[in-house]
Symmetry: C2
Subunit: 482 residues, 2 copies
């Protein structure tokens, strides 16, 4: 996996970080000295020094004069993670998604996600533009615009731009599966892909199993298509409960599962590899139930390896993998794709019926950027920055939020899911109060079809840490403690 390793000093830093995160090295512990590290790992002085600089940048170690590096108090480690909610099973059946009653409320939240430079951006889940290679990518776009043959401005009918599909097929083995170019359909972002997948596998009135909490856009897509949501409890570490899924399948006809196994938004959970195999091969395949797999965050892992997609375990063509470049490259480009498996034909036709074609030139620009090799280099930098930002926000929450607050330790992505200690707290109120202070957050209720998670909030950590954000977390903590 050539895109995983990175520089040697990064590997060293990562392995020390792992020891800190695994509490092998605890806050206050002395980290092995530069000299020791050189001997232990057979590395140069400068490599060891660079590794410490990275760890210092992440806020994980601090230098004490004349003494060496020590593990910094990892405040977040003192906060427990939220527990998996135990839903009442009879509540989970045949829940028609009804956001209409709260549409105004959700619309107001989404409105607050709009780009307002004056707001502290804990709301919308996009990385800061300064973390994205805008200049290089826009250079590709300008190049595509200048040099594209005239035919490039014809409808690029489904399955979409060939060179982009070639690049995507080349990258599929990173996620543990292999596809032909012809098995990929490009889309207007991941959202269109998810819609097409739902429409190819379900009919209005059908039931879809989803994680709870889950991304509000998925809930709205279900609602707009007249589908019912069956919410399954989802663990902050290991993802959706397979026991709950199996119990549901015994009682209820489920037309499709719609999961984000790799870094669920808002939980950041990551389903273990063996669970993925069980889900795809033991639970769904025998029942011929399709899995719609949202992979949009998968390249943003915090560990040392990209998790395999569920698609990697799919022998029946029942997994429809959806992803895009919106979380790691260019939200505004709206370039996504779907690998629809056995649903290739209906997905391709639905794509035609929904938007006819995806914008040609932005597909060409992304293809050129991928081909240049710059993407993997960019991803390494982005992952490091996002992991550090998540840690910083987490530390600040531990410092400023009321006692008893819980916060996730995500395995990837860049959002934190924060549970306020009082189950009766209403973060809709917090959302409004925070906005008045110029702080954008996402209240928990929009991540459930039934207004669950009312005492939770999602903090997006897409932006580099600064003093203004620290103040904002302090303000949020004060508002939450009222």
């Amino acid at each position: 996996m050539p895109n995983v390793a990175g520089h040697l000093y990064e590997q060293v830093a990562d392995s020390i970080a792992e020891m800190i995160e695994g509490r092998v090295l605890r806050p206050g512990d002395r980290v092995p000295s530069v000299r020791k590290l050189m001997a232990q790992r057979g590395i140069s002085r400068s490599t060891a020094m660079q590794a410490f600089q990275i760890l210092e940048g992440r806020g994980m170690v601090e230098a004490r004069p004349q003494s060496g590096y020590y593990v910094k108090p990892q405040a977040a480690h003192f906060l427990p993670e939220p527990e998996q909610a135990h839903h009442h099973p009879h509540h989970d059946e045949y829940e028609h998604v009804e956001l209409e009653g709260t549409a105004a409320s959700v619309a107001a939240v989404l409105e607050s996600f709009r780009y307002h430079p004056e707001n502290v951006p804990f709301g919308v889940a996009t990385p800061a533009t300064e973390l994205l290679p805008n200049r290089a990518l826009n250079h590709c776009l300008a190049h595509a615009a200048r040099t594209a043959p005239e035919s490039a401005n014809q409808y690029d009918f489904p399955p979409g731009y060939a060179e982009l599909r070639r690049q995507l097929a080349q990258r599929a083995p990173d996620a543990g599966y292999q596809v032909a170019m012809e098995e990929i359909v490009t889309t207007c972002g991941c959202m269109e892909g998810l819609n097409l997948a739902l429409r190819a596998t379900c009919r209005p009135g059908d039931s879809v199993a989803i994680e709870s909490p889950t991304y509000h856009g998925l809930l709205q897509a279900l609602e707009s298509l007249g589908l019912r949501a069956v919410e399954l409890p989802t663990h902050p570490k290991t993802g959706v409960s397979l026991e709950a899924l199996e119990a549901t399948l015994r009682k209820t006809k489920i037309s499709a599962c719609l999961f984000t196994p790799t870094f669920n938004n808002p939980l950041g959970s990551c389903m273990p590899e063996e669970s993925r195999r069980v889900l795809v091969q033991d639970i769904l395949a025998p029942r011929s139930i399709p899995l719609i797999e949202d992979e949009i965050y998968a390249d943003l892992y915090h560990g040392s390896e990209r998790p395999k997609a569920c698609k990697a375990f799919d022998r029946e063509g029942l997994v429809l993998l959806c992803s895009s470049f919106s979380k790691n490259l260019a939200p505004g480009y709206r370039v996504g794709w779907i690998v629809p498996g056995r649903f290739q034909q209906p997905v391709q036709l639905l794509k035609f019926m929904n938007t006819l074609a995806t914008t040609t030139h932005v597909q060409a620009a992304v293809a050129e950027f991928l081909q240049s090799g710059a993407f993997d280099q960019h991803l390494r930098r982005l992952r490091r920055a996002l992991r550090e930002q998540v840690q910083r926000v987490s530390n600040a929450v531990a410092e400023f939020f009321p006692a008893g607050t819980r916060v996730t330790r995500p395995a990837g992505g860049f959002v934190l899911w924060v549970e306020l200690p009082d189950p009766a707290s209403d973060t809709r109120e917090l959302h409004r109060a925070a906005l008045r202070q110029g702080i954008s957050i996402a209240p928990g209720h929009i991540f459930s079809a039934r207004g669950r998670h009312g005492n939770f909030l999602r903090l997006s950590c897409g932006h580099p840490w600064n003093a203004r954000m620290e103040e904002a977390v302090e303000t949020l903590g004060r508002l939450a403690g009222r």
Copy 2:
């Protein structure tokens, strides 16, 4: 209407063309001489000469040495137009659109529309790229990519790019209506707009009144949304039959009308202004039935004035106007818009759920192109070219197709609807035979939910006339006569 007039010599040419089309001047007639024209209209010699050159370019007049200009045989004028089909009323009710049975056939037709430079392109309805200002527009795109602030690469949430909406609002009075920027939502092409409009006004199982024939993409959109189509007979000159609509409304619950009143594809028909008023104000408003108005061809009028949109007569906010730049500027950009009237809120939410946002940079590029003033100049040239191309293809059909063939005389757009004399002809067969000869056409059955129009074909006239196309029409005529 500053964008309508054009140069003086164009006006003169148009007025002579009108006399020829109205058979005031008949084939073989001598056209008023340059000298006479100068006196009659108070114009200069060079203006008169330029007018004749335009008419010669259109194939409408020919110079005879030492004698002046004469009206050329207008072969197409000898072909009658198809008549409005008289459907059996009991066939028109509650027709569930079922393209699934013929999905493979329709998919094969669409596949044949894909860009194949080796095929003669009578199939897909897009203008030739050499008629589009690709260089100037792509220059705008490159400029947008280079100069856009970093924030331009964030999600451009609905209603979409402000500067583009400003330009669209400025142009709305050309179509006889006025809107605020906030009343426009940008979309991924017209197709997304039509989908959003259908989803905002109908629920699965509902019935939608449509023109017959109508664009196959509309039929497929209806099918994919689980809607029923009630086909109304549509006249090649005056558009959908309001009598048939009223008769239907007396018997059937119709949730929306989905019409292309301005240059229906494939008919090229144009509903008279008074019929539009009656449709919107007298028929639909009292019943609170929404009209989804597809305006995608409206800028491509062949006459001297852009027809008013039905939206111009809408006092209740019941008209949802959908359009795009795909037929007149940049098919590959996928930039469209919708003016949803009283359905603004649901349309905006559905847009968010369907594709989240429209690609930012292409919207910026189109906005810049519009702002530069180059668009109207381009449209004038494009209209002239398309009108000439339609005339050329029409002439060739008259020359080479079997006796008894009928062909439309479209009021705008760039497609011809050709009726073969034998009602039992099957143009699906013709489509396949033509493809084998490297000629792409659209068989009639894809323009009906019930496989009507089997002895019709649509010829797209988007490409400049040449000898190869003349040969192709000859080949088609021979194949059709078998």
